[in-house]
Symmetry: C2
Subunit: 152 residues, 2 copies
Amino acid sequence: MISQTAEYALRAIVYLGNQAGEACTTAQLAGEIDAPPSYLAKVMKGLGRAGIVGSRRGLHGGFTLSRDPNDVTLLEVVNAVDAFHRIRNCPLGRLAHQSGLCPLHRRMDDVMAAAEKSLQRTTIGELLEEPGLLCTVPCIAEPVVLESEAAL
Amino acid sequence: MISQTAEYALRAIVYLGNQAGEACTTAQLAGEIDAPPSYLAKVMKGLGRAGIVGSRRGLHGGFTLSRDPNDVTLLEVVNAVDAFHRIRNCPLGRLAHQSGLCPLHRRMDDVMAAAEKSLQRTTIGELLEEPGLLCTVPCIAEPVVLESEAAL
DNA sequence: GCAATTATAGATGTAAAGGTCCGTTTATCC
DNA sequence: GGATAAACGGACCTTTACATCTATAATTGC
C-alpha cells in the first residue's frame, strides 16, 4: 500500500515543510531522511512533476515545497510517486459484477477506501504542528542499536 | 498491502468455503478463481502449513477447508501467505522514537492498524452468507469485454 | 503390483520495484 | 568565460515478487 518510494517521498516532504522555504539539495535531503541519494533524485522528480515541490539548479539550488503544507495531503504525496490502487472492477472480470463487487472484493475495496480517505484527511501541515519530534528531524537522535545486534 | 498472492489465497479460500467439504484439485481451483495453476500450488502449500486448508494426495484428492469458515478471518488468510506489516519502530531507527512513533509514522501505522483490524473483523463465513454472488462462483458470468477493447 | 492422479519440493525463469551511474543542462561565483 | 554546484534524463544493474517446470512421494483403482 505504501511503497518504499512513497515512504521516501513523504519523509522528504515533511522535511522540506519544516525548512521554511530554504532550498535543500538531494544529497542533503538524502542524508537527513536516510534515503539512497540517487534514488531519491528520481523520487523528487516525481514530486516536481506533480507540482508539490519546486526546484532550482546550480549553486545554492535544490528543492523547496511549492505549496502551503496545510494544503498538501499525504494522499497527494503518495499518488505523486506511486498511485494508490482501489478495486473498481471485478478482478476476475465477471460480467455479473460489472456494477457492484462481490462480497470479498467489496470488503477489500472498503479497506482501501478507508486507507485512502485517511491519507486524504491528513495534511503535511498537521504533522508539522504536532508536538512529537519528526523523525526526519533528528535532535538527540542516534541510530538505534537493535537488541539482536547488541547481544553479539 | 494485499499482494497478488494474498488475492489468490483469499479467492481460493472463499471458493473452498462454498464447496461444503468437497475436495478440489489445484487445477480445478485455478480455473475457477482464475489463478496460474502452478503458482497457486505454492500458495495452497502456504495455506496448508498455516492449517487453514487440508490436503489429500492421489486420485480424488485435493484441498478442503479444514476449519469452520466462520472461524477463519481474512487477516489469517492474508498472513498465511504474505505477512501483514505494521510499523512498530521508527523506520529511520531514531533513538528518540524507540517508544512512540513520530507524527508521520504514527499516522501511517494508524492506517495499517485500521486495515488490519478491518481484515480481522471479517470472516470467510460472513462473505459466504452475503447475498451477492461470489465472483469465485461464476453463474451467468462471462469475461468482461472492456469498452476500450470493444471499440476496436 | 501397476498405472493413473494428485500434492509436495525445489530449481529455474520473468517482470517489476528499487537502486546506481553518468553525461547533459542550468545556474552561480569568481 | 571558466570553474563549480546543482537538477535533469536516461541507461543500466540488483533484488524481490510472481510464475513456470520437473522430479518425487502419496493415494487410489484395477
